[in-house]
């Protein structure tokens, strides 16, 4: 399974991910950094849009990895 990973230290809160796929990405209302709403999206269309978000994220803070890979996420 694919897992969406965000590096909060890199994120510069441009919100490009939220504009691309609001079902998966949101922003922290205080500091504007990315919040992952669904870290293991399953349908193909959503995954395509997650890949687009990864491509346009200006700080290269996002990644898709095989589930279980290490990486910082903001889900507890």
């Amino acid at each position: 399974m694919l897992q969406v990973i965000a590096d909060l230290d890199r994120c510069v809160g441009a919100g490009q991910c939220v504009l691309t796929e609001p079902g998966v990405f949101d922003q922290d209302q205080e500091d504007g950094t990315v919040v992952i709403l669904d870290d293991t999206p399953e349908d193909e269309r959503t995954i395509t849009r997650v890949r687009e978000a990864i491509h346009i994220c200006p700080s290269r803070a996002l990644a898709l990895a095989e589930s279980g890979a290490s990486g910082r996420t903001d889900t507890p």
Binding site: G13, A14, G15, L19, Q27, Q29, P58, S59
Partner: protein, 390 residues
């Protein structure tokens, strides 16, 4: 080897980057000469520019030796660099302190108020004489009012900082005059902040004061946001209206389906890339980009305009095509400095286009494109005026 071109250059066709920029694309990492005789590198491939702007080995510090395209002569160092000139880790801290003010949700919450401002200006346009100048009647005042309200800057003062921001960005006026303009805006901000310290207000500046922001830093931030809010969105509005009025099929698509508007906005941003030289950098160490080693201390200029038509990223990039999916353009820059206000700009542009063409369906140009006067001398491209009628 051919003579290296001297940058900056001006457009000859309003819809296309300067011919020399396009030529530079043949050599993606090219040596160029600057007006002061110094040399720099110009990048024109989208991927190279993205890589460079995301690479912390390139500095945004305009005070650093080798930073390209600085006005000549001794440069008065501002007490504190505004965010645009900071490198990590200071940049991240400064940016994060205000990020919360610019989230997508925050920007969407502003929609009703922006709609109201746009409606009032369309009312004014309709009540006024024909032909009308769209730049002074709508394109400039709308973003100006919005950024003033957001920051908590009295709109009554807008003439003061509007003339100064225009001077600051004008490449043809002497450097001292540009520095003087910058200083005046900075002093204005400092005074406003002191006022707000005494009488707290619930606006961006007021909230930053309440959070304990440093006065100097805040003055720099206010200055930057005010400047960016004035000279960019307004120009995109007028260029956008011009473009759409000349492209009936794109305009019809926009009128028919509001879901198309965001696509139109992205394509307009890509197509014009109105501020390219602001994303210059200087190498802190030797770095290889696109197969060329850029030595430490060398300046790098990004030709965003050409890169946003890079065939590797945008097929048939010289064509205005609202269906292409242009979201990976770099009109707002790239990397950690990517425009903080980009989503405010998007919301404003969407509301303006939707409202204007719905309320004045037979809006048309009152002149021909070759009679229009473009801001060729400015760091931010745009139109001096746009005569329209209906």
């Amino acid at each position: 080897m051919t003579e290296s071109p001297v940058l900056p250059l001006t457009r000859t066709c309003p819809y296309a980057p300067p011919a020399e920029h396009v030529q530079l694309q043949q050599e993606p990492v090219a040596r160029v000469t600057l007006p002061d005789g110094s040399q720099a590198w110009a990048l024109s491939r989208l991927e190279d520019i993205r890589a460079m702007l995301a690479d912390p080995r390139f500095s945004s510090d305009r005070q650093r030796e080798g930073f390209p395209l600085q006005p000549p002569g001794p440069r008065p160092a501002p007490p504190r660099q505004p965010m645009i000139g900071l490198d990590p880790p200071e940049h991240g801290e400064a940016r994060r302190a205000v990020l919360g003010e610019f989230t997508i949700r925050r920007m969407n919450a502003l929609r009703p108020r922006i709609q109201q401002i746009v409606d009032e200006h369309v009312d004014g346009l309709l009540a006024g004489p024909r032909p009308a100048d769209l730049v002074s009647a709508l394109a400039l005042p709308v973003p100006s009012l919005v950024i003033c309200e957001l920051l908590g800057v009295p709109y009554a003062d807008h003439d003061f900082f509007q003339t100064r921001s225009a001077n600051l960005l004008d490449r043809t006026i002497p450097a001292e005059k540009r520095y003087a303009a910058a200083n005046e805006i900075r002093e204005y901000m400092a005074t406003l902040i002191i006022q707000k310290e005494k009488q707290p207000t619930d606006d961006l500046i007021g909230r930053q004061i309440a959070k304990g922001a440093d006065r100097e830093d805040l003055a720099g931030l206010g200055f930057l946001l005010l400047l960016a809010g004035h000279e960019t969105t307004g120009n995109m509005i007028s260029l956008g209206v011009m473009t759409l009025l000349e492209r009936p099929s794109a305009l019809a698509a926009l009128k028919q389906d509001p879901a198309v508007t965001p696509e139109v906005v992205e394509e307009l941003l890509r197509y014009f890339t109105i501020a390219e030289y602001v994303t210059s950098r200087v190498a802190r160490e030797d770095v290889e980009i696109g197969g060329v080693v850029i030595p430490a201390g060398d300046g790098v200029i990004t030709l965003g305009n050409v890169a946003n038509r890079d065939p590797a990223a945008f097929a048939d990039g010289d064509t205005f095509d609202i269906g292409r999916g242009a979201r990976h353009h770099i009109a707002f820059g790239f990397g950690p400095h990517q425009c903080l206000g980009q989503n405010l700009a998007r919301v404003e542009l969407q509301i303006v286009f939707d409202t204007l063409f719905a309320r004045i369906p037979d809006l048309r140009l009152a002149t021909t494109t070759d009679e229009l006067s473009f801001k060729d001398e400015s760091t931010v491209y745009g139109l001096h005026s746009l005569p329209v009628t209906w």
